[in-house]
C-alpha cells in the first residue's frame, strides 16, 4: 500500500485510537500461554542464535517486534519467530547498504534510550520501551508521508525497516495468516460480493506482499 492511501480523517481516527490505547493501560496477557504452545512455534528467545546480528542486537530487535505485534489472545511477533526472520532477511535479502543503515540506526536508537533513561533499551520497563518505539515510529511515518513524490529508492530508517519486516514476517506466518487473519488454501469458489459476516469468519483475508508496502 502506498502512503496516498491514507487521508486526514483516517489519521485522526488512528491517533485517537492510539491515545485511547495508551491511556487505557497496556495489559499483556500471559494467561493464554497454554493455548499458544499448542498451535504456535515455541518462544524463540532461548534457542534462537542470530547469524547476522549480535545477540544483543537480536534481543533489542525482538523487543521492538513484540511491541509492534505483541502476544494477545493470539501469538505475537516473538511466538512466530519474527526476530530470527529479521536476522535472516538482513543476511540474505538486504543489501550491504541496507544492513549498514539498519545497524547504525539500531545503535542510535539504543543510544537515545540510554540518553533518555540511563539504561539500554532492553533493560527499560515495557512502558518506557513502548513509548520510545511509538515516538520513533510516528516521526518516521510522518517523514515518509511528507514525501511528495516519494523518492524512487526510498531508504527507510531502522525503525521502519524493523516494522516492515515484523509485519511481513508475522502476517505471512501460519499463526498470523490463519489466527489473526483468515486463510483458505483452496477456496473452490468465488463469491464476488457478500455481507462481511458471511465472508468466511469476517476477518481480513491473508495476503502475500511481494513488493514494497
Amino acid at each position: 500500500m502506498k502512503p496516498e492511501n491514507l487521508d486526514m480523517n483516517m489519521n485522526r481516527r488512528q491517533v485517537l485510537q492510539r491515545v485511547a490505547y495508551l491511556m487505557g493501560g497496556v495489559v499483556s496477557a500471559p494467561a493464554v500461554l497454554g493455548i499458544l504452545n499448542g498451535c504456535a512455534p515455541k518462544q524463540q528467545e532461548a534457542s534462537w542464535t542470530p547469524v547476522f546480528l549480535t545477540k544483543e542486537q537480536g534481543a533489542l530487535v525482538g523487543e521492538i517486534a513484540e511491541i509492534i505485534i505483541p502476544r494477545t489472545d493470539t501469538p505475537g511477533a516473538k511466538d512466530v519467530g519474527v526476530p530470527a526472520f529479521i536476522d535472516t532477511m538482513l543476511k540474505d535479502v538486504y543489501t550491504q547498504e541496507d544492513r549498514d543503515r539498519f545497524v547504525t540506526g539500531l545503535q542510535a536508537f539504543d543510544d537515545a534510550a540510554r540518553k533518555a533513561h540511563g539504561k539500554a533499551f532492553v533493560e527499560l520497563s515495557k512502558g518506557q520501551q513502548t513509548e520510545l518505539v511509538q515516538k520513533a515510529n510516528d516521526e518516521a511515518v510522518a517523514t515518509e508521508l511528507a514525501y511528495d513524490p516519494r523518492p524512487k529508492d526510498l531508504k527507510r530508517p531502522f525503525i521502519l525497516m524493523t516494522k516492515e519486516l515484523t509485519l511481513l514476517g508475522f502476517f505471512c506466518s501460519e499463526p498470523g495468516a490463519t489466527q489473526v487473519l483468515q486463510y483458505v488454501a483452496i477456496p473452490g469458489k468465488f463469491e464476488a460480493c457478500v455481507p462481511l459476516a458471511q465472508a468466511g469468519n469476517g476477518k481480513a483475508w491473508a495476503q502475500e506482499a511481494m513488493g514494497r508496502f
Partner: protein
C-alpha cells in the same frame, strides 16, 4: 539420416509451439517437438503449486543473490519470488545486450511462458488488422479479421476462455465459458463510467475453466486460489503443459525432446528449401541434425528471430529469410505501468470470498469511431477493486494490540486501472546479434535497441488522465495517477521482428506465416505480428498457429512442400 527424420519439426513448446504440436500431430504428421529447456510435466513438475506462504523462506521474497542472477525478470516486480523464480531465466547464464533498457522476460523450459502467462485472452478486431493500411504505417497486414475468426473460434473452444459476450465492435465476441463475476465496487464503477462517460467495461476474458471441457476431461475448473503463475495442479488455466501437449501426446505422433537448443536452420540451396535444424543438447553439448518436410519456428518472438539471424548461408547472408532486411526490426510490445488508483467509500459492509485470478477490462475507445486524438491507435485498461489488508498499516501510527485488531478487519476498498498501450512498428526499434558476447553454450547473444517514441509518450498522458477521469466520475476519492519509467519488453508482449506482409521486399512472412523465401518454414509466434493492437496477443498467436498448421498440412497433401 532416417532415424532423425520426421514429417514436421516444431521449435518451442510455449503458447505457439504447443498449438503447432497439437494441430500437426492430430492431422497425422510425425512431429519432433524441441524445447531448449528442461522437461516440465504437468502437475508433477510444479514444485511450489501447493506450498503455503509460510513454508517459503524469506516470506517468499527474492534474495540478493536471486536478484543478481535474475535481474531482468525481477524488473516485473512479481516474477522473482521463492514461489516462482524457477520459471525464469538466469541472466548470468544467458545475458543479452541493452543498448537501451530492454526488459526481456524469458522462461526456458517445456511449456515456456504458457505456464506464467497472464491468461487474458482477447480477439483482435477488424479495426486492428486494417490499422496499418488506414494510417499508412509500416506495411499492411496480409490478412483480415475474417481470415482469423474461425481460428479464434477453434482455439477458444479448445482452451476454454471465460468471458462475457458484449457485442463490442472493437473487441469481438467469442466462444466463451461462463464469465467470472465483478465485485460490488467493480459493478458500481462499470455503471458510473457508462453513465457519465459512455465507456464500456467488461469482466476480463481469461483462459480459465469456469465449467468443465468435455474434450479435456483431465482439466479441472478454477478453484480461485490465484496462484496460477506457480502452475495449476487442477489444470484449470490453459498452458501447453495442461492442454495442447497432452493432446499431441495422445495422438502417438509426437516426439518431445527437451534440452534441445536449435541454433541453426539447415537450408539446401539446390532444393531451395529448409531440410532441418541443428540442435545442441543442453546436457551433453553434443550437436545433432534433425530433418523434416516442414518446420515450425515457435521459439518466442526473439527466440525465433535469434535462430533466423544465426542461420546464415550464401543464399541468406543476413539471416534466414531476410531478403527484406526487416528481420529483427519493428520490435513492438505494449507499454504499461501507467494508470490511476482511488479509495472507494460506501461498501464497508461488503467483502468477497475466493481469490479471483482476473480483473475487469476496458476496451479501447480512443481513436475509435468519432474520437480523434493527437496520436495514433489507443489503449485498453485492466484493473479491479479489492479491500486493503495489513500492508496498509505500514505507514500508520497504530502499533501493538490495536494494530493486530485493525489488521484483522478488512481495510478500505481501492479501485485501480492500468493501461496497455499500442506501440507502433518502428523499423529502428530492432534486435541484432551481438557476436562479441556469448552465452553459456557459446552462442552469440542478442542486442536490443528499442525505445518508446512520441506517439507512445503522448498516449501515456491520456492513459493516466483518462484513468483518473473515470475514477473521479465514479465519485471515488484520493485519486492518484502513476506513470512509471518502463523499458520496452516489460509488457511481455514482444512482437514484430519477422513480420507478415504482402511484399517479400518489405516483410519476412507471407499471409500463412511462411517465410516468403522458403515455403516450408513457418514462423507463428509473436515475431510474425505486423502491428501490435492493444489487446493481449497470445490468443492471436494460437489462432495464427492453428491456421498455419492447417495450411502446412494442406500444402503437404498437395505435394507443394
Amino acid at each position: 539420416m532416417n532415424e532423425n527424420s520426421y514429417d514436421a519439426i516444431v521449435v518451442g513448446t510455449g503458447i505457439s509451439g504447443g498449438w503447432a504440436a497439437k494441430e500437426l500431430t492430430e492431422k497425422g504428421l510425425k512431429t519432433l517437438v524441441l524445447d531448449r529447456g528442461r522437461m516440465v510435466n504437468h502437475v508433477a513438475d510444479y514444485p511450489t503449486a501447493t506450498t503455503d506462504m509460510w513454508d517459503f523462506p524469506y516470506a517468499g521474497r527474492a534474495t540478493a543473490e536471486d536478484l543478481q542472477r535474475q535481474e531482468t525478470a525481477a524488473r516485473t516486480g512479481y516474477a522473482i519470488t521463492q514461489a516462482t523464480k524457477h520459471w525464469f531465466v538466469d541472466d548470468t547464464e544467458f545475458p543479452y545486450t541493452e543498448v537501451q533498457r530492454f526488459d526481456w522476460i524469458r522462461g526456458y523450459h517445456v511449456g515456456g511462458r504458457s505456464i506464467m502467462w497472464g491468461r487474458q485472452s482477447y480477439r483482435w478486431s477488424p479495426m486492428d488488422f486494417e490499422a496499418n493500411a488506414k494510417d499508412g504505417i509500416a506495411v499492411d497486414w496480409p490478412i483480415r479479421y475474417d481470415d482469423v475468426a474461425p481460428w479464434y473460434d477453434h482455439v477458444e473452444s479448445f482452451i476454454g476462455v471465460s468471458g462475457q459476450n458484449e457485442g463490442f465492435a472493437q473487441l469481438p465476441d467469442g466462444k466463451f465459458l461462463p464469465p467470472m463475476e465483478m465485485n460490488c465496487v467493480e459493478k458500481h464503477f462499470k455503471q458510473a463510467v457508462a453513465d457519465k462517460l459512455g465507456r464500456q467495461i467488461t469482466i476480463g476474458r481469461v483462459a480459465h475453466l469456469t465449467a468443465p471441457l468435455a474434450h479435456s476431461p483431465q482439466r479441472g475448473t478454477c478453484q480461485y486460489r490465484n496462484m496460477c503463475i506457480r502452475g495449476c495442479p487442477f489444470g484449470a488455466y490453459f498452458s501447453s503443459n495442461s492442454s495442447t501437449l497432452p493432446a499431441a501426446e495422445k495422438t502417438g505422433n509426437m516426439t518431445l525432446r527437451p534440452n534441445s537448443i536449435v541454433y541453426e536452420i539447415i537450408y539446401d540451396e539446390k532444393q531451395g528449401r529448409a531440410t532441418g535444424v541443428r540442435v545442441m543438447d543442453a546436457e551433453t553439448r553434443q550437436t545433432t541434425d534433425f530433418f523434416a518436410k516442414v518446420i515450425f519456428l515457435c521459439a518466442s518472438t526473439f527466440g525465433s528471430t535469434h535462430i533466423m539471424l544465426s542461420s546464415t548461408s550464401s543464399r541468406f547472408p543476413n539471416g534466414f529469410g531476410n531478403d527484406s532486411g526487416e528481420l529483427g526490426c519493428n520490435i513492438m510490445d505494449h507499454h504499461l505501468d501507467v494508470g490511476a488508483r482511488a479509495m472507494v467509500d460506501g461498501f464497508e459492509d461488503k467483502y468477497y470470498t475466493g481469490r479471483r485470478p482476473n480483473g475487469i477490462y476496458i476496451p479501447r475507445y480512443r481513436n475509435v469511431g468519432k474520437d480523434k486524438r493527437d496520436y495514433l491507435r489507443g489503449f485498453g485498461y485492466q484493473g479491479g477493486a479489492s479491500r486493503g489488508g495489513w500492508t496498509g498499516l505500514m505507514l500508520d501510527e497504530t502499533l501493538g494490540k490495536e494494530l493486530k485488531e485493525r489488521a484483522s478487519q478488512p481495510g478500505p476498498w481501492y479501485m485501480g486501472v492500468g493501461g496497455f498501450g499500442e506501440i507502433l512498428p518502428y523499423h529502428e526499434n530492432r534486435v541484432t546479434l551481438d557476436r562479441s558476447r556469448k552465452d553459456k553454450f557459446g552462442m552469440p547473444v542478442l542486442s536490443f535497441n528499442a525505445v518508446l517514441r512520441e506517439n507512445e509518450l503522448k498516449m501515456r498522458k491520456d492513459m493516466a488522465n483518462d484513468a483518473a477521469e473515470m475514477l473521479e466520475a465514479a465519485g471515488y476519492r484520493n485519486v492518484r495517477t502513476y506513470d512509471r519509467e518502463t523499458g520496452v519488453g516489460l509488457g511481455i508482449h514482444e512482437m514484430g521482428t519477422a513480420r507478415m506482409g504482402r511484399d517479400p521486399k518489405t516483410s519476412v512472412l507471407d499471409q500463412f506465416n511462411r517465410v516468403h523465401a522458403c515455403k516450408n518454414v513457418y514462423v507463428t509466434d509473436g515475431s510474425c505480428m505486423t502491428s501490435a493492437a492493444c489487446q493481449n496477443p497470445s490468443l492471436t498467436y494460437m489462432a495464427l498457429t492453428a491456421r498455419a498448421a492447417n495450411h502446412a498440412v494442406e500444402e503437404l497433401k498437395k505435394m507443394n512442400i
